[in-house]
Symmetry: C2
């Protein structure tokens, strides 16, 4: 059985630890990350992920899902902490914090954790810098039934508070892998998989392209797009109409339009 206690001081070491998880270096050092809100924590629980530390506001309204969460965390040997709204706000960095937050162990993000054929669609992002875009891609992946999101080269941290928030819980349901391009390409070629790039170069119309499962849909960095060498290594380059002045879409939007198109071709 886990422990249950009340914390009233800002300088409490657990409070300091939880707050520190807003910074990447502390997440990396501890291998822990923060998620907030009853809905997100319930999604996590129903996907088999329980927080090691659960923090709740003292004045919160009772809720059966919160009670279930609390019981499961204690049964799993975790810690349940009650504290003030103020301290919870300090932890999550929000003025109006959700009534509950949790610290989770980070998952295995090696390519080895992914089986090529276990899903028809995979999303791949290269040097994606915006945590909101990253979380949005996880959310889209969940919606199209993708297996997960593979992050190539230097991307935003998928376990940042912003990415977790934007994922709307999909951080717990989608597989996440992180790799350099030099590791990713041999890994991909070691199994089945069509690598598809959203591209402006000599490319096929995205509506009529011959998508094939398992299909790895890759988008590039927000300002630079994909390096040419990466595009050339793809099995398929597809392009979306650009009718206006701009020559590109938001990266998460491009990934989503492509993912929904691939879903329509590859079916259920």
């Amino acid at each position: 059985m886990g422990a249950r206690r009340q914390i009233t001081g800002f300088s409490n070491p657990t409070v300091k630890f939880l707050r520190s998880l807003r910074e990447k270096k502390h997440r990396k050092a501890s291998g822990r990350f923060l998620a907030e809100g009853l809905r997100l924590l319930t999604d996590a629980r129903e996907s088999g992920h329980l927080p090691e530390v659960l923090v709740m506001a003292e004045g919160r309204d009772p809720h059966p899902l919160l009670a279930a969460l609390e019981a499961d965390v204690l049964a799993a040997g975790g810690e349940v902490i009650e504290t003030s709204d103020e301290i919870l706000g300090k932890i999550t960095g929000k003025d109006n914090p959700q009534a509950v937050a949790g610290a989770f162990a980070e998952f295995d993000t090696s390519l080895g954790s992914i089986e090529h054929g276990s899903a028809k669609i995979w999303l791949v992002a290269q040097a994606l810098r915006d945590p909101g875009n990253l979380g949005t891609m996880l959310r889209t992946g969940d919606a199209v039934g993708a297996g997960g999101l593979i992050l190539i080269d230097d991307c935003a941290d998928p376990f940042s508070v912003e990415a977790v928030r934007a994922s709307m819980g999909a951080v717990f349901t989608q597989r996440i892998a992180q790799a350099r391009w030099e590791e990713f390409l041999p890994w991909l070629r070691s199994g089945a998989g069509q690598l598809v790039a959203a591209s402006l170069r000599e490319a096929v119309d995205y509506r009529t392209a011959p998508y094939a499962a398992p299909c790895f849909l890759m988008v590039g960095n927000e300002s630079r797009g994909l390096p040419e060498a990466y595009e050339l290594a793809c099995d398929l380059r597809v392009t979306m109409p650009m009718k206006g002045r701009a020559d590109s879409l938001n990266a998460a939007v491009a990934g989503a339009v492509l993912a929904y198109e691939a879903l329509a071709h590859l079916g259920d």
Copy 2:
């Protein structure tokens, strides 16, 4: 001819005025907004919008597009200001500011500025709260050749620095209108137009739906979606597959998937 001068002090009234445009109340009071970056300002210029005040960093690299912008601003009677990187950073709120920023007059955002049939696709957002989502929808609108974005009820400010930035210049090329639902619906019905909602209720598959131009594609608030009454007032409710745990997409993503689908049906 406009004026040209150098500013070295943080307390200069023009610097204070430009900084104040990061806040909505000051934008409303002055009817001005801020855009930054040579690319954005060049998009603006090529779309017929010149800043009334152009601010440039002293140590910037010379650039023909910047020289052209400067000449046009002066010719139009505007003001060109040279200042330090530090002051430019204060104005734009960024540590590494772009080398140039400008203050523009806000546009007419009344429904009267929009002609129903002047484009095949229009995007409509209801109570959209996130300025990044709003800017992303403008950018998507530009990409699909939409006429513009109609903002219903209390949305984020399309002239906020974040929305302008996320629009990647589309704030200058897309029409923007702001209206309450009670004004919007009679306006819409006063001309041609099919109102389409992204919906979870009894709805048609978004791939096979009978889109008709001019097509007004509406998405709802990030957490609550569209009010039921608004959906029921639509000519068409369409739904996208949701294969995972979540029951919705990011609002800007939903708008984009729908917009690209409508574009494929309505053609060029």
